[in-house]
């Protein structure tokens, strides 16, 4: 019971009842504690009731009675099967209270730890939750085309998209700045800072952004991660302080009806004058400020404000900006056209020149070819002319030479044939081998492709599994780290083990009893049989002998007495069992303390009557 009580008390604590640490079993529960525990459970189960129930016992008797009755009513509404009265709470008896609390604890939601842990989380978690709620709200909104959106006041002036460009900021008197840099910045190449960006709105936005960056003291060219960190470093303490202040105000004003998102917006608004924050908050801030301003006091007509500069109405401003942009665009386009034109001209000239170069080269080549041809013809003719003086002998010589060369040609042809055949065979064999190799390599390539596919599939699988692992780890982390859980499981297992041991003992006793029963049955059977045989024997002899007749009578009497004795013993056993049952019943009844409870109830009744009488008297007096 101790273990069960401890588990029960643990779950009651989780439901939000303030039970002191030293209370370890239900026996130590006072009326106060019982009421607190039941009210705690009811607050979780029936949040609507919680306003009418207080966890503390009121001092007046009638108020106590009313609280007890309403608790009893609420419990029976939840479906508690047993009878409940106010005395069950004010004078709790251990078994009844255990039944009731078990009934309530079973109905508690499975994971009340989160609800009970909620009030203890830090401010940052509250902020994150508020941000999450806001984002969720925005995500559930469907997208609407801009034409169908409700027009806000400031949307009548078409807004320029927020765009920021970097500046070159001339720095005077920098100790580390090199003199060349200063000279460059002071020179005519760097225009005054506002003139570096042509568009007016971008200029203003860039100025503000740059100033915010300077305020944050993030060094230029730092890694974005570092900048982010630095920003956070200087933002965090301010955030916490601001949240603490506003949170305190919000809770003390006790108007808890506002959603967390709205509160966040207000928090951020209260931040305004500090001049720090992201570019979005800045932009939002000054547009809101603008809106307010416009809403409170419509802008005066420009004529009422004499100014040396041209006064800017939205339309005027727009027109001027557009005109400026158009003029710039036109000049740039003119420039572009001019440059394009010159590029085209140069291209045409180049093409023409390349063409003529090609022509000239071709002509030169042709000339060279014809020159070499003519040179050859000339050489031939020269040799023929040389041979002319001794014509017949030269002719014979030439004939011999021609014949010899004809012979040589025949000889060479034969030789060529001899070489050609094996070379051709080799060529064919090589060709065949090459084909084979090609086939093989294509096979290999296909295999390689398949392997690569395999690798890709495996990699994808690995990535998927990694993701799954990460998700599971995250899930594991989000699971409530219930320390008591394992301890309780351990205890439950122990209890189950002891129950199993008890069961074994019970079966042992049962088998013993059965064995005994069997023995008794065997003995009584033996007795019956012995008696029957003896009876028969003695009865046969009894007809002849007188003393034997007497013995027979004694035998019958003995048998009868013995059976009576056995009967008596059995009766005694049943009576003893009944006595034990009754004793148990008496014990449970005395455990309920009915009498003392009755006394207490009577006293309560008297107290209520007294109170009523006092009240009546006061009414009369009044």
């Amino acid at each position: 019971m101790e273990e069960a009580d401890r588990i029960l008390i643990h779950s009651l604590r989780q439901a939000g009842s303030a039970i002191p640490e030293d209370v370890q079993s239900l026996r130590a529960f006072t009326a106060e504690l019982a009421v607190a525990a039941v009210v705690g459970c009811l607050q979780v189960l029936r949040p609507s009731l919680s306003s009418s129930l207080s966890a503390h016992l009121p001092p007046g008797m009638s108020a106590r009675f009313r609280l007890g009755m309403s608790l009893a009513q609420a419990c029976s509404d939840l479906g508690y099967p047993r009878e409940l009265g106010y005395q069950s709470f004010l004078y709790p008896s251990e078994p009844d209270l255990r039944q009731l609390l078990l009934f309530l604890a079973e109905r508690l939601p499975p994971d009340p730890t989160q609800e009970s842990a909620q009030p203890s989380v830090g401010e940052s978690a509250i902020l994150l939750r508020a941000v999450g709620a806001q984002v969720r709200e925005l995500l559930t909104e469907p997208w609407v085309p801009p034409a169908l959106r409700p027009q806000k006041y400031q949307d009548r002036v078409p807004l320029k998209p927020l765009h920021v460009q970097p500046f070159v900021f001339p720095k005077a008197n920098t100790p580390e700045g090199a003199s060349e840099v200063q000279e460059f910045q002071g020179g005519p190449l760097v225009p005054p800072v506002p003139a570096q960006i042509p568009c007016q709105a971008i200029r203003a936005a860039s100025f503000l952004e740059e100033h915010t960056a300077q305020l944050r003291e993030v060094p230029e060219g730092d890694a974005p991660g570092d900048a982010d960190k630095a920003c956070r470093r200087c933002l965090a303490p301010r955030l916490v302080e601001q949240l603490r202040q506003n949170w305190g105000q919000a809770t003390s004003s006790a108007s808890g009806a506002r959603g967390p998102g709205r509160e966040l917006g207000e928090l951020l608004c209260t931040w305004g004058p500090r001049g720090k924050g992201s570019r979005f908050t800045h932009a939002e801030k000054f547009t809101f400020a603008q809106e307010e301003k416009v809403a409170h006091a419509p802008p005066l007509a420009p004529a009422q404000h004499p100014s040396p500069l041209s006064p800017l109405s939205p339309a005027h401003l727009e027109r001027e900006v557009q005109a400026g942009q158009e003029a710039e665009l036109a000049s740039l386009q003119g420039c572009l056209e001019l440059v394009g034109h010159s590029i085209q001209e140069a291209g045409a000239t180049m093409k023409r020149l390349t063409l003529s170069t090609g022509q000239i080269e071709a002509e030169a080549h042709q000339d060279w070819l014809s020159a070499t041809e003519r040179e050859q013809a000339r050489r031939l003719k020269r040799r023929a002319v040389d041979l002319l003086p001794d014509a017949p002998s030269n002719l014979a010589k030439l004939q011999v030479v021609v014949e010899a060369s004809a012979q040589r040609v025949i000889h060479l042809t034969g030789q060529w044939e001899r070489h050609r055949v094996p070379l051709l065979a080799e060529y064919r064999a090589l060709k065949k081998r090459r084909d084979q190799r090609e086939l093989e390599s294509s096979h290999r390539a296909a295999e390689l492709q398949a392997l690569q596919d395999c690798v890709r599939v495996a990699a994808a699988e690995a990535r998927r599994k990694e993701g799954l692992h990460k998700q599971l780890v995250a899930e594991l982390e989000t699971l409530p780290g219930d320390m008591a859980r394992s301890a309780y499981t351990h205890r439950i297992l122990e209890i189950v083990g002891s129950i199993r041991k008890q069961k074994e003992e019970i079966t042992k006793i049962l088998s013993d009893t059965k064995l005994l029963q069997k023995e008794i049955n065997a003995l009584s059977g033996k007795l019956d049989r012995t008696f029957a045989v003896t009876d028969e024997l003695v009865f046969k002899d009894a007809k002849k002998d007188d003393s034997v007749r007497k013995a027979y009578k004694y035998l019958a009497a003995l048998h009868e007495n013995c059976s009576q004795l056995i009967q008596t013993i059995e009766d005694t056993g049943t009576i003893l069992r009944e006595v034990r049952d009754l004793e148990e019943q008496i014990e449970t009844e005395t455990g309920k303390k009915t009498l003392s409870n009755l006394d207490k109830i009577l006293e309560d009744y008297k107290a209520v009557r007294q109170e009523n009488a006092g009240l009546l008297g006061r009414v009369h007096e009044a």
Binding site: L128, V131, G132, V135, R136, L139, P158, L159, K160, P161, L162, H163, F169, P170, K171, A172, N173, Q185, G186, G187, P192, V193, P194, A195, Q196, I197, Q200, A201, R203, A204, A205, F207, L208, H211, Q214, P273, R274, G275, K276, E284, F286, T287, A289, Q290, E291, K293, V294, P299, H305, P308, L309, S310, P311, L312, P314, L317, E320, V321, A323, E328
Partner: protein, 193 residues
């Protein structure tokens, strides 16, 4: 109103009577307002004969600082007391503060209209369309055989702003898609807090 060190240094130079006399200060002040409020910024805004004797670097620095100061004041809707407190921190004397405040009051409306016309966010993307092209060769490379994506992001309010078009390789597009997915996941995680 909080001013950065750069701006404070620039304002302190302006407040120094040895550097800028009162007339020069008034000139720089008007130039700062003019260069902020005019649609086309004039590069010659500081080319005034009375400012010739001042070091151009100091002049530009003070001019930028003053412009930032004016914009910041407009953003915070600073009233006269805030302004004078802030300027006193920069060692301005009474006359200069007076001059600044009158000039600021004169141009306050225009300044607010200018600040109000700045949008709250970059362009909103409402849709995207894309095309796949396959490059076979280029002027420089004989063989290329590479796919490339032509992406067009449709922006909301497309009357005043043209759509954004760009082309990218497959890796770049994958990178972009991965980053977008990361962003979506981060948002989702934020909602589950």
């Amino acid at each position: 109103m909080e001013l950065s060190e750069y701006v404070q240094r620039g304002c302190q130079m302006l407040a120094d009577p040895g550097c800028f006399d009162l007339a020069a200060f008034a000139l720089v002040l008007r130039a700062a307002f003019r260069s902020l409020l005019e649609a086309r910024a004039d590069e010659a805004v500081l080319d005034h004969p009375d400012l010739k004797h001042i070091d151009p670097l100091v002049l530009k620095h003070s001019h930028a600082a003053l412009a930032t100061c004016i914009l910041e004041a407009g953003k915070q809707k600073a009233d006269k007391s805030t302004l004078s407190a802030c300027l006193e921190d920069c060692k301005f004397d009474r006359e200069r503060i007076e001059l600044f405040c009158t000039e600021y009051q004169k141009n306050k409306n225009s300044l607010e209209i200018l600040l109000g016309s700045i949008g709250r966010c970059p362009l909103l993307i409402s849709d995207v369309s894309w095309r796949l092209e396959y490059q076979i060769k280029t002027n420089q490379l004989h063989k290329l055989y590479r796919p490339s994506y032509l992406v067009t992001l449709n922006v909301e309010d497309s009357r005043s702003h043209p759509d954004i078009s760009f082309n990218c390789t497959m890796e770049q597009l994958q990178d972009l898609v991965g980053k977008l997915k990361d962003a979506a996941k981060s948002l989702e995680r934020a909602t589950q807090m």
